[in-house]
């Protein structure tokens, strides 16, 4: 039985956390994820959860607290954004390499320089090589649903990796929308309890964690970690299938929207996918063959599957909500284009960097991207590959 509610994305995440009732929440506030520990602190004060709520003095410490707790055999969570995530950088790698399936909610926000509190994906994209599984949400419902699936994915013995559950700061974290919630008992049954085989304390076979790793062993551990990330693909699909049985809501590595006969396609992450979906419907009514792919799982990267989904398309625009400063495109573009390299017939492909620091992206902006793709198809010329959209600029707009 689902419960119809209206919640912001942050409320939805906090509600999922309450239903799971984890052992430890290590909390340090940062906009726009601050509401998550704020709501959770109320649950603690009201006795609605049995969680040990640890308030710390920095994000480096909140992640370190999660690492200590999870290594001891507890289920530990936290939430962060932007500079908070950046401040965790060192220990993100520790969590992943110790194979501790911590779950962290991220309300994506631009990184400082200049300071900005609004949404883009530069924080979690900056951590894309840290060894964490990354799930991204379009709206409050997906943030909630991804959160419920995160522990069954990360804690599985074939995976044992930490998971970031990302949503767009403010755009969905602070937007109240309709949502269907699961009953508490359903969540408890689905997420289950966490009983690691080995842990620092309370076990017959105590585990040493975090020792020095010499040359003869370090590489083996890294390869095991890489294998775990590959294994996560099957586990993500299995958990999605179980989740669909419980809720009727379907998840995969990505969502294909009206892609069957699409000639022009956009690949995008997060809330912009919803805006793109509305524009796809408008253009389809005009007889234009357009489609959209919304990437939900960025780590592990579903390269073969994405390539297959794009194999019949003539022109693709990958929309990056982070600027990787690689001088030739953002991170999503690099990976999507690389994924398509082995296709016998590759689509034309461009990158559109957009929405940095909260720059708004409306349906009319999506229309501009499709118009660029139509022009590419019409002329057979790719034109400029690496584009920025929406900025005030003296250069001629390429999108």
């Amino acid at each position: 039985m689902s419960v119809r509610e209206r919640l912001s994305g942050n409320e939805a995440i906090a509600h999922a956390m309450k239903q799971i009732d984890p052992d430890v929440f290590a909390a340090f506030p940062i906009t726009p994820s601050t509401e998550i520990p704020q709501y959770f602190a109320q649950y603690v004060a009201d006795g609605k959860v049995g969680t040990e709520f640890v308030t710390v003095e920095s994000e480096h410490s909140s992640m370190s607290t999660c690492i200590g707790a999870e290594a001891a055999g507890a289920r530990a969570i936290t939430a962060t954004s932007s500079c908070g995530l950046a401040y965790m950088y060192e220990v993100l790698y520790v969590a992943a390499s110790m194979r501790l399936p911590i779950v962290m909610a991220v309300a994506n926000r631009a990184l400082t320089g200049p300071i900005n509190i609004n949404n883009d994906h530069s924080d979690s994209m900056g951590a894309r090589d840290a060894g964490w599984i990354q799930l991204y949400a379009e709206n409050n419902q997906e943030a909630y649903d991804n959160y419920l699936q995160a522990m069954p994915i990360g804690e599985d013995e074939s995976v044992r990796l930490p998971v970031m559950v990302c949503q767009d700061g403010f755009i969905t974290s602070h937007a109240v929308e309709n949502i269907e919630l699961c009953e508490d008992a359903e969540v408890k049954g689905f997420v289950g309890e966490y009983h690691p085989e080995n842990a620092l304390v309370g076990h017959e076979n105590p585990l040493a964690v975090g020792p020095y790793d010499t040359c003869p062993y370090y590489m083996e551990h890294k390869v095991q970690q890489a294998e775990a990330m590959k294994n996560a693909k099957a586990r993500i699909l299995k958990v999605a299938s179980d989740f669909e049985k419980m809720t009727g809501r379907k998840y995969g590595f990505f969502e294909e929207y009206r892609m069957e006969d699409a000639e022009a396609a956009i690949v995008v992450i997060g809330s912009t996918a919803g805006t793109a979906r509305a524009e796809v419907d408008i253009l389809r009514e005009q007889g234009k063959k357009v489609g959209m792919i919304k990437v939900r799982v960025f780590r592990p990267f579903p390269a073969e599957e994405l390539a297959a989904a794009l194999s019949h398309v003539k022109a693709v625009a990958v929309m990056d909500k982070s600027e990787g400063f690689a001088a030739d495109g953002g991170p999503l573009f690099h990976e999507v284009r690389s994924a398509c390299y082995d296709l016998p017939q590759r689509p034309m492909m461009i990158d559109v960097v957009f929405g940095l620091g909260g720059r708004d992206c409306a349906t009319t902006d999506i229309e501009r991207v499709y118009n660029r793709l139509f022009k590419m198809i019409e002329t057979g010329e790719v034109g400029p590959v690496y584009n920025h959209m929406g900025q005030r600029d003296l250069r001629e707009a390429t999108v």
Binding site: R6, I117, I171, A175, V176, N178, A273, G274, T275
Partner: protein, 191 residues
């Protein structure tokens, strides 16, 4: 798909965001799909802020700001001088302004806007009902009355429940807010 888009203009601390979220609550209670979201920036007391509602019969997936609203609600009259409040406002819609002045007096300040202009003296209503100046409740009521996004009787009943929840620890303000709500629905002037 019929969708109503509403843009709120206020100043930090006046409760425009709260009114926007309460409208989303009320529309949700009446069975609608809703979005209620503020536009965040370097906020501080008194700075201009914007908030948005989308209300529809099916889920709206668009996650951008609203550029062509059906209705605009101005919680602080002084914003008329500094913010282009009628930007993109549909002429089939309306603008609702917190002011003791009449719609006819304000129309010349609205960049030639030809649609409906409504005013409501939220200060007077709030001070009489609550003893203090909280413009958001009267502005919310005026927005519901003018836009018709929620059936008025249903709205009043839902808001009583909503205030009961919101002010569980200070029930003495519930009646005052209900009075402000009902007075505003009667006193909003259309021109």
């Amino acid at each position: 798909m019929s969708m109503t888009e509403i843009r709120w203009h206020g100043r930090g601390g006046q409760g425009a965001k709260t009114a926007c979220l309460l409208l989303a609550d009320a529309a949700f209670a009446s069975g609608k799909y809703v979005q209620g979201f503020p536009e965040y920036g370097p906020e501080r007391m008194g700075a201009p802020i914007t908030a948005y509602n989308r209300i529809s019969d099916t889920r709206c997936t668009i996650h951008s700001n609203i550029y062509t609203p059906d209705y605009v609600v101005v919680v602080d009259e002084t914003l008329l001088k500094s913010v282009d409040v009628t930007a993109g406002l549909k002429e089939t819609g309306a603008i609702i302004i917190n002011s003791e002045r009449s719609p006819a007096e304000l129309r010349p300040l609205l960049n030639g806007y030809k649609g409906k202009v409504c005013t409501i003296d939220a200060r007077k209503i709030s001070e009489e009902a609550l003893g203090r100046y909280f413009p958001n409740t009267p502005m919310l009521a005026a927005a519901v009355k003018v836009s018709g996004v929620v059936e008025p009787e249903r709205f009043v009943a839902d808001m009583r429940a909503s205030f009961g929840h919101k002010f569980a620890t200070k029930p003495q303000v519930i009646e005052g807010n209900m009075k402000a709500l009902q007075t505003a629905m009667m006193e909003v002037k259309e021109g």
